[in-house]
Every structure is written in C-alpha cells, then in structure tokens.
Symmetry: D2
Subunit: 402 residues, 4 copies
C-alpha cells in the first residue's frame, strides 16, 4: 500500500503535529490504565477514540484514501509510527497495529477479490481483528523452513493440522492467516509452505490459551494465543497467493513490518526517555539535590539520547532506501536495524527503571509494561543472533575471492 | 544468631546434600506452579513441606537448636542459602526468607523478653509471618535518613503516622516492625528514628494494596504491600532496642541480610544456568545441530559460568570475613558483592531468556518470574549507584594526604 | 570557509570517486611505512603526492577556489574527510589536517590582513606548517577556563609566559597560535584569554620535547610537542581577533573541528573494518574453515557495521544542521557525536585486533597505530565524560519547571 | 618444581612483606625508566638488584632451596607473583619471568641430566636467558596442532626448518626450545610434534628481527623475536622428553603458566588501580573539586575494585585446586581465569588512562606501556574466544544424555 500512496509531503509537518497532539492529549492520559486491563473493558472507550481519529481524517495512516486512510508512503508512515509508538495503544487506535497491518498488506497485495471484500474491507475499517499463525512451539522460529503444520488438499478443501503459538491477538480475532506445509516434496525448502486464511469460527480451530507472558496472559488485542488446528477444513479459495508461496509472502510481510516495529520501538524509547528525564528532575535526594545532578544519571541520559538518535536515523535511512529500491535491496539494513534498535530499546528502558528506583519496578508507570513486553523484541522476527550472522555473512560474501 | 551457632563443620557436606536433595525432589517439581499462584492455594502443601523439613531436622537452618533450628553459622548458612535459592520457594519453606529472617535476627538481638515470647517464638516456628515497614514512596530509599513517618509519644503510647511501601509480605503478616522518627531534634540524622513493633490487627494500620510489580500484585508471602499508619497507637513497650537506635539496628539487620540475598541470587543463577544449558542441548536448529553448537551460546555459557563463580567466591569470602570480624569490618565488601552479584544475576537471566527464544518470555519457565522479580535486586537494599559511590569514597579516603 | 563554498553538488559523486581512487592507489600502498617512520624521510614523497593532488585539482578540498582549494562546503567536505581518514596520511597530503585546518579557519575568519598575507597564504599552499598551543599539563583540559599561560602587554608587545603540551605537530612548524590570559580581571572567566600568533623562531619559545605517546615520540607532523614560553615577546598586532575573545574563537574552531575528527574516525573505522573482513576470510583455522565462520567474528562484523553506519548518519546529520543553522544550534549534537563515534572507533579497532590475533598487536598492520594513536580520541577536544554531562544538562534544562 | 616445595606457610606473611618492600622501594622508582629503554643499558643495574635479592634470600621464589630459590609451592608463589607483577621488571629481577620460568619447569621435569647441567643450572642462576619458539606466523596459534616447522632426523642429528615469531626475548637468549613436527605420520595430530633445545649460536638459526609491537621493537628481554631455522642441525640428544611429546609437554608448561600470567596481571591491575586513585585525588577540576568527586570516576574505581577482587579469588582458588589435584582437573578453571582476568586487566587499564586524561596516553606513566603490551593478554596462550568455547563445550558435555 505504501508504495502507491500520495500524501503531499508539504503537509506532513502539520499532520505529524496532529498525531502528536492526539497521542499526548487522548492517549497518554489513559494508556497506563488500559494496559493494566482488563483490555476488553476499554473497548468502547477505544472505539470512541477511533471514531474521533476518523473524524479528524487521521485514522489508518498507512491506507490509501480510497480505503479510508491517510495515504502515507512508507517513509511518511514511519514518522507517524514513531509518534504512535509512544503510547502502547497508539497503533491499535489508529488501526495500524501488528498483526492486522501485516495482514492488510498481504491481502491488499495478494488476496483474491473475494478475500478482499469479505475480510480486508472490514479489517481496514477496524470492524474486526485478525491474527497470524506462523510460530510453532516445537520448531525454532529462527529457522522458518521447519514447520510442523500441514495443509493437505482434499477435494475443494485444505485440511489443516498443526500447533502454533505466539499467534498475537488471536483472542477476539475473526480470522487468522496460517502458514502450513502444502508441498512437502518441493525441491526448495522455501517453496513448501503456503498461507491460508482461516475464519476462527471454524470448528477445527481452537484457542488453547492466551499464553501467560512476563506475568500476564492478557486478553483480546493484548494477548498472544496458543492455538491448534485439528482437521480444520477450509475451501481451497482461502489460499493466499499461490501454493508454495508462503515464505515469499512472509518475507514481503516482514520487510516493512520490521520498519514498523523499529519506529514503534523508537517511539517507546522517547516516551521512556521523557519519563527518565522527568524523574531525574523531580526526584530529590535531599531537598536541594535532584537526582539529575548525579553524573551516572547524566551518563544514562546522554547515552540514551545518542542511541535513540542513531536508531532513528538508521531506520529512516532504511525506510527511504526501501521505498526507493524495494525490500530486497535493503536486506542488510533491515537486519542491522532489527538488532541495533531492539538493543537500544532494552537499554533505555532498563536505565529508566533504575532512575525510577522502587517505583520503576511497579506497574504504576509504563516502564514495567515495556520492560516485560518488549523483551521479546530481541527475539521475535528473528533473534539478534540470527540477524547478526545473516548480516555478517552477507558482508563477507563480498570478500570472497578478494 | 549465626555467631553463636555450633553445627559441626565435618557434618556440613552431608547436610548440604540433604538440602540439595530436598530442593530438587520436593521443590523443583512444584515451584513453577506455586509462583504462578494463587499463592494462598498452596499454603497447605507448603505447610506439609515444612513439616517434612522439621522431621528431617533441617528446618530453620539459621536458628539455634534450642530455637528449633539447625544451628548453622553465617558461613555455613550461606552455603545452604545458595541451595535454597535455586527454588523461589526454598527460603520460605525453610522459614529463613526475608523479611522474617531479618525480623528474627532483630528480635533475637534486641527484643524484650515479652517481644520474644509473644512474637519471636511463633515466628521462628513458622506459625505466623511478619513484615518490615521502612521504605516510603515519597522519600528516596537510597538516603534512609529521610523519613516522613513519625511516632510521637503520648503517655504510654506511640502514635504512629506515615505512608510506607515495599513492605514485603505485609499481606497475611501478623506484625510489622516500622521505622519511624521519634527524635526529630536529635543532633545526628542517624539518631532520629526508632523501630517499633506493630501488630497488624491494629485499627490505625491499613494495607492499602498489594503493589502490582512487574505484572503481578501477588498475595500473601509473594507480595509487597503499600501500607499506612493513621494515628496508629501502640504501647511504648513495643519499641525495639532504644529510642533513636533505628538506623543502628537497620544496619545490623542489613549486613547479614545482604549476604543472604547474594547467596540466594547465586542459587538463582545456578538454576537459570542449568536451564540455559539444558535448552542449548535440547533445542535443535535442525535435526543435526543443537543450539549448543552456536558460538554465541557458548560465549554466554562460559561468561555466565565465570561470573557465577566469581560471585560465589566473593560472597563466601565476605561471609567468612564478616563472621570473623563483624559486619562493620566488611562494609566495603558488602557494597562490592551487592552491586556485583545483582549485575551478574540479571545478565545470566537475560542470556538464559535469549537462549530459550519465545519460550523464554512466557511464564512457562521460571525465567520470566526471576527476570521480573529480581530486577529489583539492583535497587533494593541500596541501588548499584549508591553502593559504587560508597565503595569508591571509602577507598579514596585512604588516598587523602598521600 | 565552508559556509561560503560553492562546489556544484551534482559533481560531488565524481569528485568523491577521485578521492577514493587517489587514496587507495597512492596512499594505501605507502601509509603503513610512513607511520612506521621516520616521518621526515618521507617528506619528499609526500610533497610529490601533494603536487599530484594539486595537478588533479583536488588539493585542499576545504578551501575556496581563490585560495587554491576545491570549494567544498562543510557537508561535502565531511564526505571527503571520511575518505581521507581511511589513510593516516590522507588529511596531511591534502593539507586539511588538524591543527593546520583549524588555524586556517581561524585566520580566515579573524586574522588581520597582515596575518593572512604572511601566515595564512603559505599555510594554505602547504608551504609551511603551524600548531596550536592550548592544553597545559598543570590544568585540566576539560575545563578550559583554567589557564596558567599569561600574555602581559608591555608597550607594543605581549610578553608571554607559560607551559603547554599536546601542541600537535609543533616539531617543524613555523608558527603557533597560543591561548594565553590577557585579561585576568575580566568578569566572566570566558573573557580572560586571547589567541596570539607566535612565530616559532622567537627566542622566547622552546620545544621541550616531542612527547612520547603510546610508545612513540614521533617527529615533524606526526608528533605532539611539549613547549614553553619564557618572556616570549611578540608585537601586539599578533593578536587574533580581540583581547578576551580567546574562548569565543576556540569554540568557533572546535565546532567544525569535531565534525572533521568524527568523519576522519569513521574513515579509520572503514579501513579497519575492511582489514577485519579480509582477515576473517583469509585466515584459516584449518584448511576448510576460515575464521569468518565463527559466530563471534560474525557478531563483531555485524555490530561494527551497524555502529559505523549509525556514526556516519549522525555526523552527516550534524554537519547538515550545522551548515544550515550554525555551530551553536547543534551544540548537543556535537557533544553526541564526539563521545558516540570515539567509542565506536575504539571498539571497532579493538575487535579488528582480536580478529588478527598475534598479528594484530604487531606494527605490521595499521591496527596498532590506530589503537595507540586514537586512544586519545576519547580524551582530546573534551573527554567522553564532559560531553555526556554537558549533553545531559542541556537536555534536562528543558525539563526544569515542567 | 612447585609441587615439591616446602616453604613453611607460617613464614609466608613476613616473606610477602619482604617482596612488597623490595618492589616498592627498589623497583617502583626505576621501572618506568627501564621500560622506556633502551633495556640493555639497564642490565648492570638490574644485575645489582638481582644480587640484592639473592643476598636477602628471596631470589627465584619458585625454585627449590637446593636450586638457589625460596622453595614456594604454586599457591605461595602465586601470591608473590601478584606482588612482582606490580612492576614490569618484577619477575625479571627475581628470575621468574616468562619464558624462562616455563623453560625451567620443562627442563626440571623432562630434561636430561646433560640438559640440566649445561642449560638449566645457569638459567636458574640467572646467568643466561632462554626463549621458546612455538607460534608461527602462517598458522593460527589458537589451533596448535597446525605446525609448519619440521625436525627431520638425519643420523644423530635433527635438521630443523621453520619460521617462528613471538619468540619472546629471543634477542640475547642463549638457547631456545623449539616446537617442531618430528612424526608427521602419527595417528593423533597431538603426537606429531616434539620439543628440541637449540643453542642460539647455531648457524642454522637466525633472529630475523625484534617484532615491532605496539610501537616498540624493544630489545633483549623486552622483545619478541621473529626467527627462522634453516637446516639447523642439533644432536638428537637435544630432544626434550620423547619424540611426539611436544603437545603433552606444552600443556604441562601452560597450566601453571596461566596461573603465573593471571597473578601477574592482577599485580598490574593493582598498580594501575593505585595510579587511578592517586590521580583522582590529586587532579583538581577546580581548586576545590578533585576528580574523585565525579561519580563516573567513582563508578570506575568501584567496578575495578570488585573485578580485581573477583579475579584474585578465582585465580587463587584455581591455584589451590591445581596444587591439590593437578592441572588436568582444573582445565575448566584455567580457561575461566584466562579470559576473565585478561578482560578485567584491559578494562582497568583503560579506565585508568581515561582518569589520567592526556597524561594517560603519554609514556610518562606506566599506563601506556601496559595498555600496549598487555593487549596481547587476550590473545596469547589462547584467545578469549577459544577459551570460552572450550569451557562451554566442556560444561555442555555433562548435559548430553540428560
């Protein structure tokens, strides 16, 4: 969607201001309460906010105007994403949160007309939610060619069997896209799997549990499901793209997805940095001496500032390149920002907690939420180690024969 | 208590084996479930384990035999503490968990006969629990001379007013020891506060809430209370030691307390290290290649091993010195182990999570519990920064005039 | 000079290629030998290279065409500086090395016509060298308001007395600019010093020694002098700018200077990174297994790549801002890049050494030269600690009153 | 030698005091000058110090009394080594420096009577020096089974051909022990090499150069030679031990050798730590404010103190175990201390340099010497990476089958 967008660049500064204002006036006052949950009890309030965003014309920044969005391209959206990321409910309210945004991209690019009409249209309007079932507990996520889930064609149906987890936001979703092996005999291990759309009222599908993660199982959008498919039958028309294209589509989905994640993380960093600075000023060691005068605190603030700036420049540079040259051309950069920014994120959060002292480990600030829920940032979409090795091997290839 | 103990050193190896066996056979199979809670539902089961420990003669390792314990001195107890620390319920089952153990020490050394009879005796037997109300939300815990809580003598009573938090295990406790200013005019700021015992059925006391910490408010022993004292009246005989001795007693309490914490942390490190190694061996990247073959994983295992060994040697050395020379003589060493071991603990846990991948951030292993609940280790009993500065200033004092 | 330059942006890519080619064809083959010294023996060869650069029209990239240069603005020059930095003799050959480049800027902006004619003109042509005497052994360089060197006006002369060191390249220089206190009674400590030009054949000046630094005293351009001024008399017309302007001018000099240093460091990083990759590929652990297959090596390559990219983006962003808004507007960014890039530099060098094994610590590669000579990067022009504190205090100022 | 020593433990404290006094009174005043060189010019002065040490009965602490030494066991010697390590000439003066000490051990354990009489006896007395030729430029030192040097038996002679470097102290040595392949067909790659003693006046031997290392080629004892053997003929009786035992002997040599290195490094850390503290106290940021008041400096002092203490406890623990159980039993511990202490060493030196500012990078203190000459500590005797992998694999072996 991004590539075909046409929001006028000269209006961007004003638009960004609008987002900033919305986030600080509408989301900051309530977001801590929302993540304390229960999430479902806040759905009406969040719906009101979505309507407000729609009425302001800033809902769904990543979608084209025809689809009810703002029409931002990737680089423009990245800047909005940074702003929304400052609140844990920012992307949700604007209907550009994972996994829905990824599914919108997939269906937009590769969905059939029927899939678009039935599933994509309401998804884009925020009338329903979706999820994405790829990771399996029994297989290393870092090596996605190993999949245990199968989809066997019988007549006009696929019969799906498999066990997935970290199916984000499965609880309350209306459909999932599942990655399953359809062509086990394909020569290339990268051409064995397909993506299939499964409506979640299918009797062959079951949400086993919302996985308790870092102290919370959560619910609805704020949850990660463990799910199973037992003889789950769907029409073959539920296939997305072609058979065996699963990995190719997943790569399409992950490229911009990592930009989105990184910009969201930078947004988190900024909010956390702001909390850290406020605390440093307001907390007094004695009536005359704020914490801010301690050089260790100053070091953390300076280092965080530097690292956040580095992160932003790198991600924006990657987004700009990707927009110009496509996702494949920036594979190295994607790996780079994935591990670099995730590391910065965790360091900044950790420092902010330490600056807050005992308060920092309570759930009375957002720090605890992010400390817990973003620990996964160094793991999902490829752990640090995988991206580092991939980057290095790609670089070293150029030295062979030299 | 430790200093007067007399467990024969030659029997120690056999005793340590007994603890190791108990912990691995009785606690490891259930501890993950217990911390998943609700804690109260496990109280009968934990009571059974305590009785088993009593029947084996290994209950309350830190208490003298007359008091129903094993009679270990500080150095011996440190070794037991490391073993018990491998399970998050180890110290609780053996009735040597903070804050009760600290209160036992306080009352043993400074309690009146009446206090000992009414409160200490059942506390030592595990018949009731206690808590310790020192930290205040409005004051920096790192500068304990700032206290807002006051205890004003009126006739034969103290009238206590104040707001405390991180009153560990207040939920379900029968009494607390509260630190309050009794002598605001004392010359030294270190002589203004006193420790006063408050039974928790006192109408002037209120448990405001179990503070939600890192995703969990918890309950009973596994909780940290926010409490208030409003015109809370107790007889002056509830004073512990003398008026103005609060800080002196707190120091007495904290010295061995930090040894206990550190050895418990090392126990955690060992369990976590064991989980990390098992995962490295059992997780296959492909059928032929366990995670253990990746050099990054090997680096983490090697570095963790080294740091854990360094931690143990330093804490044991400090315990040995403290036992021989008293807590004051090892002030520098206490600061050293406090920040060194807390740092190692968090690094080892973090590496183990990364080795576990997605599983590592779920609550399906103990890693998440410790990642969240031990983040406070770098904060409580003096944050890293305070201990580092204190250590450095103490060292540099010797260079003045040189 | 930069701000008034006018090299056409569309010709920049071709120009950068020219520099890249020159550096790799002319400098890489000899630079290791040159730094092994003795430096003076290479002066004729370096002079030949300068003439070649002149004949190619790429000499003195930072100077205007009228002054015999290429006419690059700050942002363009930064990109050239990165290329030249890949060789330790790059900036020297192109006559844009510190301290000469800083002195050219000073004299260009603030020199009298006479000073420009006598000193600046031949300096720009590379006919003589200069130095800058600011740092004093007895005073903390991180606090430049403390100066022991004085210049007392007597009639038409300043009488200068003082002891300086780290007067880079004093050996063989024809003049120095010295920072000395002229107005000790000025209200502001920042208005007490002035900059005075001193020809080095002055009998009151003495080069005490080339300071042995990290194993080498060096000579000529590759040296750092310890110098003294004893009743050193110069005409008052040797004052640069006005009395009391010393610090203001020093700040002017340091702003772009830090951009230059940072881009040079990034150039070093690239050369070092290249050496590291080549070594990883060529060194075999056994005939089948290059070092490059070790994951630790891959980690270092990936992390270095990420950090170098972050550094470049940050410095270029700062240069762009500085060019548009002036040095004052980017004070925070200057501090940021100063400590961030210096840290990256030392980390990348250190990793490359480790990859080279025993060879890495010999002087048979450039790694040893940079490991030793760039350790100062974290110290000169303000140590890390000073820049971090300055940055943090500047940020925190915005939080006061919030 | 250590295992058979018998210095009475109760006299150790007094002996250690003697060493401390000697080092601080005799070595500290001159050692900076000695390492500034040229080394040979100090030989007479060093000889005088050796004689003084002999007259005090503290020369050669590692040798038995019959051999003119003090008779310390490994654990006792480790403590002396820490003291001597505080001066870069400590071990040399007491004739217990590498590589001589390793050669003494080798010849003591495995030398023939003739070898002992001709070479070991004068070596022990300090009448001649030796060296050890093992590392080869063309082969990865981390994988010692790859050796290019060969020794082919012809009649009663070995004919040695090969190229070695990092032959420490070859310049001025009277003999070397060379590692060469004698049995290329042996089944195990660990049984192909032998150690052969070569007198250095042999016409087949040549010192190509003293390798310039980190800015200095050095000379005599303070140098590392690149050497070659061209048809170098020695009698077969120059074999040490048996043919094919080269690696076995090298392991014997390296075990205690790593203890010695580590304790020497800890000695360096202490001297460096002392310099850092003195500087922190004496350097004033302004007349009222010593550097010591900056929290960053305090952090470095505290962290260094902790890490040095950890290092000492670990090395002493390893030495104690090794003395009791032999080198094989502590293989894991040896790897652990090798990478742990080398890392601490470099960190402590780096911090001390930063505390010294510009002075820290000059050769006016010992910091520069150690920063340069100990960078190799993370490389020689097995780089960090090799020891970490070895340790991890050894640990993980215990988890197989679990």
């Amino acid at each position: 969607m991004h590539s075909t967008q046409n929001f006028p660049q000269e209006h961007l500064p004003a638009l960004l201001s609008q987002y900033r204002q919305f986030v600080s006036e509408e989301l900051f006052p309530i977001d801590l309460k929302v993540v304390q949950g229960p999430f479902r009890s806040f759905l009406p309030q969040l719906e009101t906010l979505r309507n407000k965003a729609k009425s302001l014309g800033i809902f769904a920044p990543h979608l084209s105007k025809e689809d009810g969005g703002v029409g931002l391209n990737l680089v423009q959206f990245a800047q909005v994403s940074e702003i929304l990321g400052q609140s844990p409910i920012g992307h949700y309210v604007f209907n550009c949160a994972a996994p829905d945004i990824g599914n919108m991209e997939l269906l937009h690019l590769f969905g059939s007309e029927e899939q678009k009409q039935i599933w994509l249209a309401p998804l884009q309007k925020g009338e329903l939610r979706s999820c994405f079932a790829m990771t399996e507990p029994a297989m290393p996520g870092s090596n996605p060619i190993h999949l245990g889930t199968t989809a066997i064609k019988e007549g006009n149906e696929y019969v799906i069997n498999g066990h997935k987890w970290f199916t984000t936001a499965a609880d309350g979703a209306k459909f999932t896209i599942v990655m399953a092996v359809t062509n086990p005999e394909a020569d290339s291990p990268y051409q064995r799997a397909s993506m299939i759309l499964v409506p979640l009222d299918n009797p062959g599908y079951r949400l086993i549990r919302n996985i308790p993660i870092m102290g919370e199982a959560g619910e609805d959008y704020l949850s990660h499901g463990e799910v199973e498919f037992v003889n789950c039958r769907v029409p073959v028309t539920n296939l997305i793209g072609k058979e065996g294209q699963g990995f190719a589509l997943a790569q399409e989905r992950l490229g911009p997805g990592r930009i989105h994640h990184c910009m969201r993380w930078i947004g988190i960093c900024e909010r956390v940095f702001d909390l850290m600075c406020k605390r440093a000023i307001s907390r007094k060691l004695d009536p005359e001496k704020p914490l801010a005068e301690k050089q260790t605190i100053q070091n953390w603030i300076a280092e965080s500032k530097a690292e956040i700036k580095a992160s932003r420049l790198m991600v924006m540079d990657t987004a700009t390149q990707m927009q110009a040259l496509g996702a494949k051309a920036v594979k190295e950069d994607i790996s780079t920002i994935k591990f670099f920014v995730a590391d910065v994120l965790m360091k900044v959060i950790d420092r902010a907690i330490q600056v807050h002292g005992a308060l920092g480990i309570t759930d009375d600030t957002l720090l605890s939420f992010w400390y817990r829920h973003e620990r996964g940032a160094r793991i999902y979409d490829g752990p640090d180690e995988v991206h580092k090795s991939a980057l290095a091997r790609s670089i070293l290839k150029n030295y062979l024969g030299k």
